[in-house]
Amino acid sequence: MTPNLLLLAMLAFPGGVAAQDVAEVGQPPPPFALPDEHGEVHALADLIGQPIILYFTHNMCHYCTQVIAFLKRAHAEYEGTDLAIVTINVWADDGRLISRYKEAYGLPFDMLAGKDPDLLRNYEVNYVPIIIFVERDGTIRYLYEHYVLQEDFERSVAEIVAGGLTP
């Protein structure tokens, strides 16, 4: 093995965050409990068993807000189902920013204050947006970083609502 290959092999299994600690397709999403604009704490664990969309954003992400339109359409289309949509603003550590963001975009679903070091580490939030689709069995089916096309978004949400079967 050349020195470079040896180095790459070493780095493939880093000694820091273990793979199972971070959000991975096929694995349960890392747990969190975060406050909303009223200070009420929402725990992800309370939603496990439902299809869940997790969406990470912040205030400087221009195109992230386009995904908000996808989420609002999904919210309307799947009203009456058990689909849970949870948005997380990683710049927010209290309710003021959340309250303004929700009002600005007319969000009909929860937005939580996500400026939490453990959350950022466990979900590996370096770039936003991140969109995660969680199945009823409590595992991540899809994890989109940076962007999601509308057709992929719609297919993903349809699959988790249908219980993992292609509708």
Binding site: N4, L7, L8, M10, L11, A12, P14, G15, G16, V17, A19, V22, A23, E24, V25, G26, H58, N59, M60, C61, H62, Y63, C64, T65, Q66, A69, W91, R96, L97, R100, Y101, E103, A104, Y105, K115, P117, L120, R121, E124, V125, N126, Y127, V128, Y142, L143, Y144, E145, H146, Y147, V148, L149, Q150, E151, D152, S156
Partner: protein, 352 residues
């Protein structure tokens, strides 16, 4: 490893097109990448260009009372001369300076009932190709170049990587060269990443890909971990003047259109500039960008984890290329509440 995405990363323009963002897509029309494969970055000696940097408040929260904008201003130094600065503001403004590195910024404060307003700075930039800058670093200044942040940090895997490539080398210049080469060895320049990163070195090492912010965050973390002072230099890219010509264009005004590079201090040499990401992207850049910078760029601030002056209500900014706005101490929402429009027009190119 979390490479198992359901689809390949999307191209930003593809996304914008698919999302029907005519306005945003139009914004990208004038944007060309800093890199141009095959271009010899050493062949351009000087570029001059006019810059118009405008921030427009478009709407405000219903309950907003106190509105503030901070816009970075470039300053003249060995690499660039700024001339003809003109500022248009309907409101009184101040030129203030960041406390650690002294970078200037424009600050405007308004009561929300004053309504929406804009702020524009226009200036002319003469930017030269620069190399190593001899100089000394006073002991009292040294510490500020050895500070990492909560995202630009060392981790066990970064320490392991640093130990592997630096070994027992103690000469700062030689360490810099090894780190420059080592990062280019393991990172992949991922142009599909749209931006808006935090320079999280743990993420970078785990995914081994990134853009300029990531390359230089890792460079900074590794160098500082070996006690080598690093100066983070934040600015904007212009196209390479292929054929000795360049044009006018517009840069993305959110978190995607900026560029960054760094300099490290080696006592026997002085400040050594590096552009690790360009050195990786550009076929001919691997040698040039260790110790040299091309002139198709301009710098607007220094340092990371930036506390503005007067201090913002939100967190320190990861870096300060784009004007930042708040109301009542709460960050405004980019593109909804305000927008940055950054235009340039190249007026002169001097090739070697």
């Amino acid at each position: 490893m979390r490479f198992s995405r359901p689809a390949p990363p999307l191209d930003r323009r593809e996304f914008l097109k698919a999302a029907g963002l005519g306005g945003a897509a139009a914004l990208t029309a004038g944007l060309r990448p800093l890199s141009a494969s095959g271009f010899d970055p050493a062949s351009c000696r000087l570029m001059e260009f006019d810059v118009s940097y405008r921030t427009q408040i478009a709407s405000l929260p219903r309950d907003a009372e106190d509105v503030q904008i901070w816009m970075p201003l470039p300053s003249s130094d060995h690499a660039q001369q700024i001339s003809g600065l003109e500022i248009d503001s309907p409101l009184p403004y101040d030129v203030t300076h960041e406390a650690r590195f002294g970078a200037p910024m424009l600050h405007v404060r308004s009561e929300a009932r004053s309504g929406v307003f804009g702020l524009e700075a226009r200036y002319h930039v003469t930017r030269r190709q620069v190399g190593i800058r001899p100089g000394t670093l006073a002991g009292s200044d040294r510490q500020k170049y050895l500070q990492l942040t909560n995202t630009v940090r060392t981790t066990p895997e970064i320490d392991m990587f640093t130990a592997e490539i630096v070994g027992s080398e103690t000469d700062p210049y030689a360490i810099g060269r090894r780190v420059f080469d080592g990062i280019r060895e393991i990172l992949f320049y991922d142009s599909s990443i749209p931006g808006c990163g935090t320079g999280d070195t743990a993420w970078i090492m785990r995914h081994r890909r990134g853009k300029c912010d990531d390359y230089h965050a890792l460079f900074m973390a590794m160098m500082v971990s070996r006690g080598v002072p690093v100066r983070w230099e934040q600015g904007f890219p212009l196209p390479y003047p292929e054929g000795g010509t360049a044009e006018a264009g517009q840069l993305e005004g959110d978190c995607t259109g900026a560029h960054c590079w760094a300099s490290f201090y080696a006592p026997e040499h002085g400040w050594v500039p590096v552009d690790v990401s360009e050195g990786d992207k550009l076929e001919s850049g691997g040698e040039f960008y260790f110790g040299n910078l091309s002139p198709n760029r301009f710098q607007v601030s220094v340092g990371r984890s930036v506390v503005l002056n007067p201090a913002q209500g939100g967190d320190p900014l990861s870096s300060f290329a784009f004007a930042y706005a708040e109301s009542d101490g709460i960050p405004l929402i980019y593109a909804l509440n305000y927008e940055n429009i950054i235009k340039y027009a190249v007026t002169r190119v001097e090739m070697v």
